[in-house]
């Protein structure tokens, strides 16, 4: 495999860590003082975070309900094995195929919810959205959060 020169690719975090050496994390600044223009932004970020966390907790509860509920049902209801559809015992059919579409539904609802929370202008704050543009503009220099 000759050809173009090989380039080592490292994570932006690694580059930051290596350039930082043993100094403390510079890219993570402390919270702004009250009254500064940053404060409104901080309140907004907190609100987004809490909404996302509630959504994630709800999705996890649904997931646990599906997995533990379905296995509990199959464990408790032995009669499901005596009924068959198209020659396949219902309990086997539930185990083999029922959970996948439901898992997909839970995931799709979560992603739609998370995107709704992130949509710019939801709380009257315009902001550059992640959605349309390619990510090249957001290089590591901006990640330092100055």
């Amino acid at each position: 495999m000759s050809g173009p020169r090989r380039v080592r690719v490292t994570s932006p975090q690694t580059r930051i860590a290596l350039s930082r050496g043993h100094r403390p994390a510079q890219h993570l600044l402390p919270q702004p003082v009250p009254g500064s223009p940053d404060e409104g932004e901080l309140a907004h970020a907190r609100a987004v975070f809490h909404r996302q966390r509630r959504l994630a907790a709800r999705t996890l509860c649904l997931l646990a309900l599906l997995l533990f509920g379905l296995s509990g049902l199959l464990g408790a209801a032995a009669w499901l094995g005596r009924v068959s559809v198209l020659g396949i015992p219902v309990s086997w059919l539930l185990l083999m195929a029922a959970s996948y579409p439901l898992l997909l539904v839970i995931a799709v609802f979560h992603v739609r919810g998370a995107e709704r929370i992130e949509r710019p202008g939801r709380s009257g704050r315009p902001g550059p959205s992640e959605r349309p543009g390619p990510s090249e503009r957001r290089g590591p220099s901006r990640r330092r959060g100055r």
Partner: protein, 487 residues
């Protein structure tokens, strides 16, 4: 012979796509990193699924099903459900953190070099636990199709993977992994349909016969413990939460253009896994009718490769065997090159000073250790060993990532204590389940499939120790940035 040819063709095709993929990305832009982010979400999801569907899914699932019963399919449900947890908990925030690997993330979130090293050690544990069953699968398949001794297959597999990574093309190209997903799906699904059609009415009815035996119970039982519900839940916990913490899968989300895209990719993976997991069950069900002798004496992990020859005699039988063997080898090749790359990254980049020659050396060293560990592992069921890798990931990196992303109170001391408790408890009980036999009861389940207690333990230790200390001042900013659409 046909099978060896098929495996050789598969390997050549992977190398060709790898070389082409690297060329294609290089010619569009000099920056490989940016180029990789232009990969469409569909290809990206296929690449993740291709890397994720390992020998455990292609060989191990049907094998363990033949041995233990239909309840083994809960493993497949958990493997897929893991991506719901990934989409909900880590995909977006991990993409925003800018961290490629779990040690990178630990450094971002906790700013501690020591935790980075601890994470790198855990990466090694998980990756070796995961690599051993892959190498075992390769050894068994090569033994079946060419008659070489088991150890020759394992050593050869180690050499092939090391050589292909050292050549450079395999891992870097998303397209190779995507191609492997298609190969695995087609090479398992098409023979499955063919076998069902050829098995005959009597055998089909027999395969779907529900009886009062433990085999037919739709719950998982480990080592006849008599606690099927506990065993099922423990496996579900390990596989679902383990997927969140698997180091080689997490880094794949970085090839998405944005957090928004990363979540959608995770949803795509659920679709692809759901489609794939419909098929291994066919081999398990037919195996109960056609190859019951594998259960006593034989190696049930071989059922997927043995079955076509049993059902369809003659040339077609050997063609189908070749196809299935190539599918199994694709599973081995894609997963173990991903695993070995993550392992070598941990060895060379987090534990020592990074350099390209050292990375190559780390690949060879990692493969050598995995081969040595695999040689005595011929009797270990593929799926059981992979279950341990998931259990360790679920009890270490899952709490680290979940708490790191969703709770600003996590402190470096808490993370370190939780990681240490999780890795010791999970690997310790897996070892104990190999070395001891406590007899039927809940203890055997808690040792053989420890996630039911090690995951809560790791979370509790991480939260408890963190509450004793104070998180750094900037912790909230670090957390909020992971969720900010403008970050």
């Amino acid at each position: 012979m046909t099978a060896l040819l098929a495996i050789g063709l598969l390997f050549a095709a992977s190398m060709a796509i790898g070389v082409y993929g690297v060329r294609a990305t290089r010619s569009t832009t000099p920056d490989f990193l940016v180029a990789s982010r232009r990969v469409s979400p569909g290809w990206n999801a296929m690449a993740i699924a291709g890397e994720y569907v390992s020998a455990a899914s292609v060989l191990g699932l049907a094998g363990l099903m033949l041995k233990n019963g239909i309840g083994t399919l809960w493993y497949a449900v958990g493997f897929t459900a893991g991506y719901v947890a990934v989409a909900a908990l880590v995909a977006g925030p991990m993409r925003r953190s800018g961290a490629y690997t779990v040690p990178d993330f630990a450094d971002y979130r906790l700013g501690s070099e020591r935790i980075r090293k601890l994470c790198a050690v855990i990466v090694l544990v998980i990756m070796w636990l995961y690599l051993v069953p892959q190498f075992k699968g390769a050894g068994v398949v090569l033994h079946l199709v060419s008659g070489t001794p088991y150890w020759v297959g394992v050593v050869l597999a180690g050499a092939v993977v090391t050589a292909s990574i050292a050549a450079g093309g395999m891992r870097s190209a998303t397209y190779v992994q995507g191609f492997h997903y298609v190969v695995k799906l087609l090479f398992i699904a098409v023979p499955a349909v063919f076998l069902v059609a050829h098995a005959g009415d009597g055998a089909r009815t027999e395969a779907l016969r529900m009886d009062v035996s433990d085999w037919s119970r739709p719950l998982l039982d480990l080592e006849s413990s008599g606690q099927p519900l506990l065993a099922t839940w423990s496996v579900l916990l390990a596989t679902t939460l383990g997927a969140v913490g698997l180091p080689h899968v997490i880094m794949r989300f970085h090839t998405s253009a944005s957090a928004w895209m990363a979540r959608r990719v995770a949803v795509g993976v659920i679709v692809l896994l759901g489609v794939f997991y419909l098929f291994p069950a066919v081999y398990g069900l037919l195996g109960r009718v056609f190859t019951p002798e594998l259960v006593d004496g034989g190696d049930t992990d071989t059922v997927t490769v043995v079955l076509p020859g049993e059902i369809v005699p003659g040339t077609w039988g050997s063609v189908l065997t070749a196809v299935v063997a190539a599918g199994a080898f694709a599973a081995f090749l894609s997963t173990s090159s991903g695993l070995l790359m993550a392992l070598a990254g941990g060895l060379s980049h987090d534990l020592t000073r990074p350099s390209v020659p050292r990375l190559r050396l780390a690949v060879a060293a990692g493969a050598l250790v995995a081969v040595l560990l695999s040689l005595p592992a011929q009797r270990v069921d593929i799926n059981v060993a992979v279950g341990w890798a998931f259990a360790v990931a679920a009890s270490t990196f899952c709490p680290l990532l979940v708490l790191g992303i969703w709770w600003r109170g996590l402190t470096p001391a808490g993370a370190a204590a939780g990681l240490a408790a999780g890795v010791c408890a999970a690997t310790g009980s897996a070892l104990a389940s190999v070395l001891t036999d406590p007899g039927p009861g809940w203890l055997v389940v808690l040792l053989a499939q420890p996630a039911a207690w090690t995951v809560p333990l790791a979370f509790a230790v991480m939260i408890g120790v963190s509450l004793l200390g104070r998180p750094p001042e900037w912790a909230e900013r670090a957390v909020l940035r992971l969720h900010s659409p403008n970050a």
